[in-house]
């Protein structure tokens, strides 16, 4: 048994469960950097002397690899335990930055695709799901709060990485001034920034791996006492994907993410276009940048606040709110968003908080449906919906907007077809959520279920 195995990291009786959220946050704050990748875009375009689209692929590859690796490696993560998974994630994420840096330094774009995109993307997938199952097991009474804290970190990671990356690029290239429009850092500064970030994140994630423990009795899944779903369900990942509930929830997540991306992708030009009079907008470029910042905060806080609320009101009603209220808010944005800046910002803030909340609440929803037996692995498979939405969302929005012109030169009415399409997407998600019922007993893992019942009986007898 190695020190990385699940059996080796079983917490002693006095171990505080409040060490687990910071361990999870150490990982999620690090991998959340991926959402700040755009901070490098201009400099990478100049360094490789290529198009924005070619650089955009780096991020797209990373997100697709996140979804694929979470789906393929979810069962491995579940069986290996959080420490081994966090270590693997830290190494992939760190090596991804190093290989990416080598690509920048040598002018080989394919190395950046391979490093940051493929290797780093695998680190993202493993890292994203690594603490989720453990958190749910430590906080069976508040799974929404627990996973909300960790997944909030993924949103928070971008808030840290963006200013940190700008500072590092300015440190390595004194001519780089991030606040100047169109400023680009040299290739050498970029490469050094990647190395520095890779080292910082690796160390930070390893601290998380050192802190994490599984709850007493959870060193071996076959003998652990699992929390069943709301109807007593304990379902394995291989069986969960054969249930309609899994696929209804897949559609729910896909629709929620697609709709959120509809705004996030175009946030800065969109707010300027909504308040345009002729060629001038009443919203300055700086204010539009501020709007992106406000949305980042809403995205992050929505993950914690709404996911925690789901512990009180239930998972299904929470998604009724995300998708049903979200649908109405999207409609109001399309019809009345241009009436005032306050209305526009308020609507967008709530919509994006629902987008973040949708990510953070889904592990607890899975726990309610399938129990904790292999909830991490099931979560990994569900994240393919995120990868699919990451491709579909921008395609839908850009496809519709391309017909009317270039964002940044449009007016509010030009956005209406795209926003109304998102209303339709949310309606599909809303109906899909309503279709989710408790999982049928035929899908339960009979052996695990019977053994678990025995363990619960024995424990209750011992208490008496």
């Amino acid at each position: 048994m190695s020190r990385l195995d699940k059996q080796a990291i079983v917490a002693g009786p006095g171990y505080s469960r409040w060490l687990i959220p910071p361990a999870a946050l150490a990982v999620h704050l690090s991998i959340g950097q991926v959402y700040a990748f755009s901070v490098f875009k201009n400099s990478l375009v100049a360094s490789f002397d290529t198009s924005l689209t070619a650089i955009g692929w780096v991020f797209s590859i990373a997100i697709v690899m996140l979804g694929l690796s979470a789906a393929v490696l979810g069962t491995w993560v579940e069986r290996s335990g959080p420490r081994k998974a966090m270590l693997a994630s830290a190494l992939c994420w760190g090596v991804g930055f190093m290989v990416g840096s080598a690509g920048i330094a040598s002018g080989q774009l394919w190395l950046l695709y391979l490093g940051y995109g493929v290797i780093g993307g695998i680190g993202l997938g493993i890292g994203y799901i690594s603490p989720v199952s453990t958190l749910i097991k430590w906080f069976p009474d508040r799974p929404g709060l627990a996973t909300g804290m960790a997944i909030m970190g993924f949103g928070g990671g971008a808030l840290i990485a963006s200013p940190l990356s700008n500072k590092l690029m300015a440190l390595y290239d004194p001519d780089f001034v991030s606040t100047e429009p169109g400023a680009v850092a040299s290739g050498s500064a970029l490469a050094q920034t990647f190395v520095t970030l890779g080292l910082i994140y690796t160390v930070f994630m390893l601290i998380g791996a050192a802190l994490v423990r599984v709850p007493p009795g959870h060193g071996d899944d076959s003998t652990a006492e699992h929390s069943p779903g709301t109807n007593g369900a304990l379902v394995r990942a291989s069986q969960a994907i054969r249930t309609p509930q899994f696929w209804f929830l897949w559609v729910v997540l896909f629709c929620n993410v697609t709709a959120g991306i509809g705004i996030l992708e175009q946030a800065a030009p969109m707010i300027q276009d909504f308040f345009r009079d002729g060629s001038d907008s009443s919203i300055s470029a700086a204010a539009a940048g501020g709007f992106v910042g406000v949305l980042s905060l809403a995205n992050m806080l929505g993950r914690f606040v709404w996911s925690s609320l789901s512990d009180k009101i239930g998972r299904k009603p929470t998604y009724v709110m995300y998708l049903g209220v979200g649908l109405v808010l999207y409609l109001l944005l399309a019809l009345f968003g241009s009436s005032s800046t306050v209305v526009f910002v308020a609507l967008a803030v709530v919509i994006i908080s629902y987008y973040g909340g949708g990510f953070a609440t889904v592990p607890a929803y899975l726990k309610d449906l399938f129990g904790t037996l292999e909830v991490g692995a099931i979560h990994g498979r569900l994240l393919t919906a995120w990868a699919a939405a990451g491709v579909a969302g921008p395609l839908i929005v850009n496809g519709i907007l391309d017909r009317v012109g270039e964002p940044g030169n449009l007016v509010a009415a030009d956005y209406r077809p795209a926003l109304l399409t998102m209303v339709g997407v949310l309606a599909v998600g809303f109906l899909s959520n309503l279709m989710i019922k408790p999982v049928a007993e035929t899908h339960f893992d009979d052996d695990a279920h019977a053994a678990n019942e025995d363990r619960i009986s024995i424990r209750q007898e011992a208490v008496r």
Binding site: I9, G12, G14, L159, I160, S284, G293, V294
Partner: protein
């Protein structure tokens, strides 16, 4: 990084330190974003 098989309670100082470790960078990111976001109301 070995098994915790003792019954000693986790030190509150360790819990505080762990939260500070993640809380300080997060607070830095939040502050930087608030400064940027303020441009929406002043810019």
């Amino acid at each position: 990084m070995s098994t915790d098989d003792t019954t000693t309670t986790t030190s509150p100082a360790l819990v505080t330190l762990a939260w500070l470790l993640v809380g300080i960078p997060l607070a830095y990111g939040l502050w930087q974003t608030l400064v940027k976001a303020s441009a929406l109301f002043t810019g």
